[in-house]
């Protein structure tokens, strides 16, 4: 009796730890995929802007940022490999 009672919270905590590990793993994969696809470019720009320009002028909005990025890519697309 005592042993099962003792085991139950242990089991529950293992399950919780497992779920937390899974959630962490999922977040890591989601982070990696987003960064790999280049989605992190805008947040990175905003952080850079805050650090260097502070509140002098507002950063580009997300829409403006991606437009300027595409315009730059138009001017210099960079090679893709064979």
């Amino acid at each position: 009796m005592t042993s099962t009672a003792a085991r139950r919270p242990a089991l529950a905590s293992t399950a919780r730890a497992g779920a937390a590990a899974l959630a962490r793993g999922w977040r890591a994969v989601a982070w990696y995929v987003r960064e790999l696809m280049g989605e992190g470019a805008y947040p990175a720009y905003v952080r850079h802007h805050e650090r260097t320009h502070g509140t002098d002028h507002a950063p580009l909005t997300e829409r403006e940022f991606w437009r300027s990025r595409m315009a730059e890519m138009d001017a210099d697309p960079g090679a893709r490999c064979c």
Binding site: E35, W66, M73, G78, A79, C81, C82
Partner: protein, 761 residues
């Protein structure tokens, strides 16, 4: 520029990088590094086990060679050898050649602008770099090389990458990073002077054109007479347009989201392709001959290169990255799960000769030229000196990104080889022998393949028709170019994991789509890059052409570049001798010559760094010498060989003499027009061979002169950016060591106002 004496060499660590006492160290102290690299018992056991497993795998492949060999040994041999090469050889290069200094800020830190120069997490940058270097090349080359049996290809892919390919990528990345991300062309001009630099730039422009043409030829061959393929690959255009509009107007920046949507649409397009190809109208509308498809790609290439990038290029790039990583992970998993038995001999009947049906020429040098990208790829020098060096966070990470990224590409090549050799050899040769040999019919293919006298091969018409039916194609005879063979191999492996025989058609077209996607992106981007180079060159004479916003200039230069590769593409498609088998060597030679140029530039750079580097120059000298000998010999064969199947000019003269003698058919050319086509094609191929090899020899000679001069003088001019003290820290490899983690923690505990910004959350 200035009258100062040349700056001193780079023998020791740079001075004047006093760390800010308010910050934790910006590099792991040497003592800590030393302590962590000390050998402990568990480490010795681990590396012994890796070495042992790799050794056993090589023994299984090279010596035991029973009736069949299991594909898993290829995986073990490759992975264990890569690990050993990465752990030991790349560290030698780091220690004696690059000598990174984490106290120095990288261009990403010095010039941080939140856009082009952004310190990027090393693991993310590894993925970016890999996605940028990996394309159709490593998938196609090994498939063609399988003609000679599995062993020569396997050895070159695995050993070649350790000693040549990864060395080139790593060094170009590192030296470009030290120069603020200068391109290989600019570095060539800086280090080799005007002549060598100009030759390098012309060579890269021409090579780009030939590479686009031959990749396009691979797609044309995969889609010819295939309504399913034409429909599903054609659908990528509207899908990409939709994604472009979605990202521009509906939800800017939601790249992952739109890529998932695009991927689902892509799968739907593949499934729908199967239905459409079954209907009479679908079959009629989408069954196109190869010349029509080639013209379609030429027109597409022009339009795609003048449209704004957000509409077509960028969204297809996202799709292609998504597919690339996904499929490669999936294929690796499937090979490990299925573990196909390989019946192909280690050395085939063609390994000793020079007239194999897939590509002609002897094992040395043509095997090394054919495999191209998986072992050593000059094209990577363009990538490693483009975007990646502007994003590196710390100098020490270049080993993981440059050397490690190339190891992954080599692994892709090994998987492509396994997929190709898991097929029945009879089917392999029926697919990869040119229509000139098989007549393009099942009966012709059966007769031709059985007449080759291959051991254990007994091809029947049923095998060919049955396989074609299983993958939903009209015919699989003479589907040259490597892509269909690889697709069939992937389909055979994947259907054993997902879906069974009913899914074979889906997987086949999935693989075709996957390759076509990369190639079309490469065609589009390559045309744009070539156009910029041309605009820049014409701009020297007519300044208006330099203005990239001037539309007529854009159209004219794009048209010139498209005409350049389009001409070669049409020649390849209409070639009476088969196309791929005569043109692919040009692709391989061009790509390897670019590698020779890149290695020659790096050799000069390292020699100029000072006396203590001279002893280690062999690290670059060996792959440079090997690649130079291979490509120059291959070019010489192509130019001077008296065997018509090998030498372009021998073939040219044979056909010209036959025409002069009034003959109306010669060899595989049945008409006078076909004979004239051969005369013309062999001349173009012959001239291109001469131009390439001349340019490469010029670059190598100028590089050797620069190198010898630097060795005599004990060093040379240093073109690196002036060192700037770094104010950030990040670990070097994929996994952070204990000491690295501890140091990282100290940085993360800093006050928000002094902590460096990064692309990490």
């Amino acid at each position: 520029m200035t009258s100062q004496p040349p700056p001193s060499t780079i023998e020791g660590r740079a001075d004047g990088l006093e760390p800010d006492p308010a910050l934790p160290p910006t590099e792991l102290p040497a003592a800590e590094r030393e302590r962590e690299s000390r050998w402990t018992l568990p480490k010795i056991l681990l590396w012994s086990a890796i070495a042992l497993l790799g050794g056993v795998a090589w023994v299984m492949l090279a010596i035991v060679r029973g009736e069949t060999v299991n594909a898993i040994w290829f995986v073990f041999a490759a992975v264990c050898t890569y690990l050993i090469g990465y752990r030991f050889y790349s560290k030698v290069i780091e220690r004696y050649i690059t000598r990174p200094d984490d106290r120095r800020a990288t261009p990403a830190e010095v010039r941080a602008d939140g856009k082009d120069y952004v310190p990027t997490d090393r693991r993310v940058l590894y993925g970016h770099h890999f996605a940028a270097i990996a394309g159709a090349g490593p998938l196609v080359g090994p498939v063609l090389a399988a003609q000679m049996g599995y062993l020569p290809g396997t050895i070159w892919i695995i050993v070649g990458v350790l000693l040549a390919g990864a060395v080139q990528d790593y060094l170009v990345l590192f030296f470009s990073m030290r120069r603020g991300g200068r391109t290989i062309g600019q570095m060539a001009r800086d280090e080799l002077g005007r002549i060598g630099g100009t030759a390098a730039i012309i060579a890269s422009l021409l090579i780009m054109l030939i590479i686009i043409a031959i990749l396009a030829l691979v797609v044309v061959n995969a889609l010819g007479e295939s309504p399913w393929g034409v429909f599903s690959v054609g659908m990528t255009i509207p899908i990409a347009l939709f994604m472009g509009v979605y990202l521009r107007y509906l939800r800017p920046g939601k790249i992952t989201e739109v890529s998932v949507i695009g991927f689902i649409l892509l799968i739907a397009a593949i499934v729908a392709g199967g239905w459409v190809a079954e209907t009479p109208w679908g079959a009629e509308l989408f069954t196109l001959d190869r010349t029509t498809i080639a013209w379609g790609i030429i027109i597409y290439g022009f339009i795609a290169a003048v449209l704004p990038v957000w509409l077509l290029l960028a969204p297809r790039d996202y799709l292609s990255t998504f597919m690339k990583i996904g499929v490669i992970v999936m294929l690796a998993g499937a090979i490990v799960l299925v573990r196909p038995e390989i019946a192909v001999p280690a050395f085939s009947e063609f390994a000793g000769g020079e007239i194999g049906p897939v590509f002609s020429g002897s094992l040395f040098p043509f095997l090394f030229v054919t495999i191209a990208c998986g072992a050593l790829s000059g094209f990577h020098a363009l990538i490693a000196s483009g975007t990646t060096p502007k994003l590196v966070e710390k100098e020490r990470q270049t080993r993981f990104i440059g050397y490690g990224g190339m190891l992954m590409e080599s692994f892709v090549a090994i998987m492509a080889l396994v997929a190709a050799i898991s097929l029945d050899r009879g089917i392999y040769f029926a697919m990869n022998s040119s229509a000139a040999a098989t007549g393009g019919t099942v009966e012709g293919a059966v007769a031709f393949v059985n007449s080759l006298g291959l051991m254990g091969v007994n091809l029947t018409p049923d095998m060919l028709t049955g396989t074609a039916e299983a993958v939903g194609e009209e015919s699989i005879v003479s589907r040259t170019g490597g892509a269909p063979t690889l697709a069939l191999g992937i389909a055979t492996i994947m259907q054993q994991v997902f879906g069974g025989a009913a899914m074979a058609g889906f997987w086949y077209h999935f693989a075709i789509m996957f390759e076509a996607l990369f190639i079309l992106t490469a065609v589009d981007a390559g045309t744009r890059v070539a156009r910029f180079m041309l605009q820049d060159s014409i701009g020297q004479v007519i300044p208006k052409f330099k203005d990239t916003g001037w539309r007529p200039g854009v159209w004219i230069t794009t048209a010139i570049m498209v005409a350049g590769w389009g001409y070669i593409l049409i020649l390849g498609v209409t070639d009476p001798l088969g196309g791929i088998n005569t043109f692919f060597p040009l692709f391989g030679i061009a790509n390897q010559l670019l590698a020779v140029i890149a290695l020659a530039v790096v050799l000069a750079i390292v020699a100029k760094r000072g006396r203590s580097y001279v002893r280690w120059l062999w690290i670059i000298g060996v792959p440079l010498a090997f690649a130079a000998v291979v490509t120059i010999t291959a070019s010489m064969f192509k130019i001077f060989s008296p065997v018509p199947q090998v030498g372009y000019w021998a073939n040219h003269l044979a056909f010209r003499d036959a025409l002069a003698a009034g003959e109306t058919s010669f060899g595989t050319a049945q008409t006078v027009e076909a004979m004239e086509a051969v005369v013309r094609n062999t001349m173009v191929q012959g001239i291109l061979s001469i131009v390439f090899v001349t340019l490469a020899i010029v670059v190598v000679i100028t590089a050797l002169i620069a190198t010898v001069r630097a060795i005599r003088a004990g060093g040379g001019e240093n073109h690196e950016d002036a060192p700037v003290a770094s104010r950030r820290y990040a670990p070097a490899g994929f996994f952070a060591t204990k000491a690295e983690k501890a140091l990282e923690r100290r940085w993360s505990e800093l006050d928000e106002s002094v902590r460096p910004v990064s692309a990490r959350h």
